[in-house]
Symmetry: C2
Subunit: 212 residues, 2 copies
């Protein structure tokens, strides 16, 4: 498979982890989002949203990281990234979406550029914005973990799911942006469990060939 | 089932459509997001993110609209809201996520309040922000529809899927916020096809008992 990726992209990070967990090898094609590689006509033809990741599987073009994770789960069921029963699957998907659909969209490069370039917010205001939305998502996840009896080493059960993938990809930028993480002990314990697994560690932004 | 809902919430609208399509009756519990009902301790105990919707199915508590749609699809497979083959499912989920994970999160009440209360943006700037992000998502969906041979009356195939649900819930606020919609003819044709179906029309914000 071929992955269009950027080392710092949370969404690319999610797909890298899932591919590693499933044991699927990939060829990376790097785009530098801060330099605007995603706006080039050639990439726009591949991904009209002009975002990463895009995953190419043969003649199939896949976009949106959670849709890609569901595709990988359906096509390559082992090891599973979702629990077996519907209630647990919904809970795991819900945790994943708190990251992917509520926190992450607010801090992506195009939104930060709009804040700076159009709304003329200061660097301090932009940093406070990023910390606010990352923190709101982490707080919600921490509370949900506390009331979920099947959480512990991982968000649900004894192996990583898409909830853990999304938890890790939210904690990583929280560290980058100096958010205090001690209010989230359950979540951080899970983060450490995950990062001890090579599929997660090898997917970390700092380990990518395009890392700066 | 019991649905915690707000008439203007795109995410509640998605769940209302899906329940209607599946023929599942519900009891509504209304929260007024602009009056802050979601911050009350009793609701926070139900939904720590303090957002709608929350769906209660017996003793199961479900949160995050796309996780709820996937749950309904797994538990009540007829009529299906996802196509059968993995490639088409990924495309449909990708379209849904352009709305749910990239456009909608930027215009929810809590974000608009942050823009106004913390960043002190003007009413005109806030409206331009909303129109910008709704338009960016609609443009990407329009382009993807143009290259997708299975789109036409609906986003994919001959019956509505979660992609159509999310398309409708993005067009509706675009109308509210006076966004010009003529650049999106494919998407608007699908919107009209959907709104001719009572499951969609009955779920519209204006038809809800808490509509103002």
């Amino acid at each position: 498979m071929k992955l269009y990726t950027y080392y710092r992209s949370q969404a690319s990070f999610r797909v890298r982890i899932a591919l590693n967990l499933k044991g699927i090898t990939r060829e990376d094609s790097f785009l530098h989002l801060e330099k605007g590689d995603q706006f080039a006509a050639a990439y726009r033809a591949i991904n009209p949203q002009m975002v990463v990741p895009t995953l190419i599987d043969g003649d199939i073009k896949l976009f949106q990281s959670l849709a890609i994770l569901e595709y990988l789960e359906e096509q390559f069921p082992e090891p599973p990234l979702l629990p077996a029963d519907a209630q647990a699957r919904a809970w795991v998907r819900g945790i994943a979406l708190i990251n992917a659909a509520d926190s992450h969209p607010l801090i992506v490069p195009r939104v930060c550029h709009y804040l700076t370039d159009v709304l003329k917010v200061s660097d301090e205001q932009r940093l406070a914005w990023i910390q606010h939305w990352l923190g709101a998502g982490l707080q919600a996840i921490e509370t949900l973990l506390a009331e979920h009896s099947a959480s512990g080493v991982f968000c649900h059960g004894d192996r990583p799911t898409i909830a853990d993938i999304c938890l890790v990809t939210q904690v990583t930028p929280a560290k980058t942006f100096d958010l205090a993480l001690d209010p989230y002990p359950r979540l951080m314990r899970i983060y450490e469990s995950c990062m001890a697994i090579s599929a997660f560690a090898d997917a970390h932004p700092s380990k990518q060939p395009d890392a700066e």
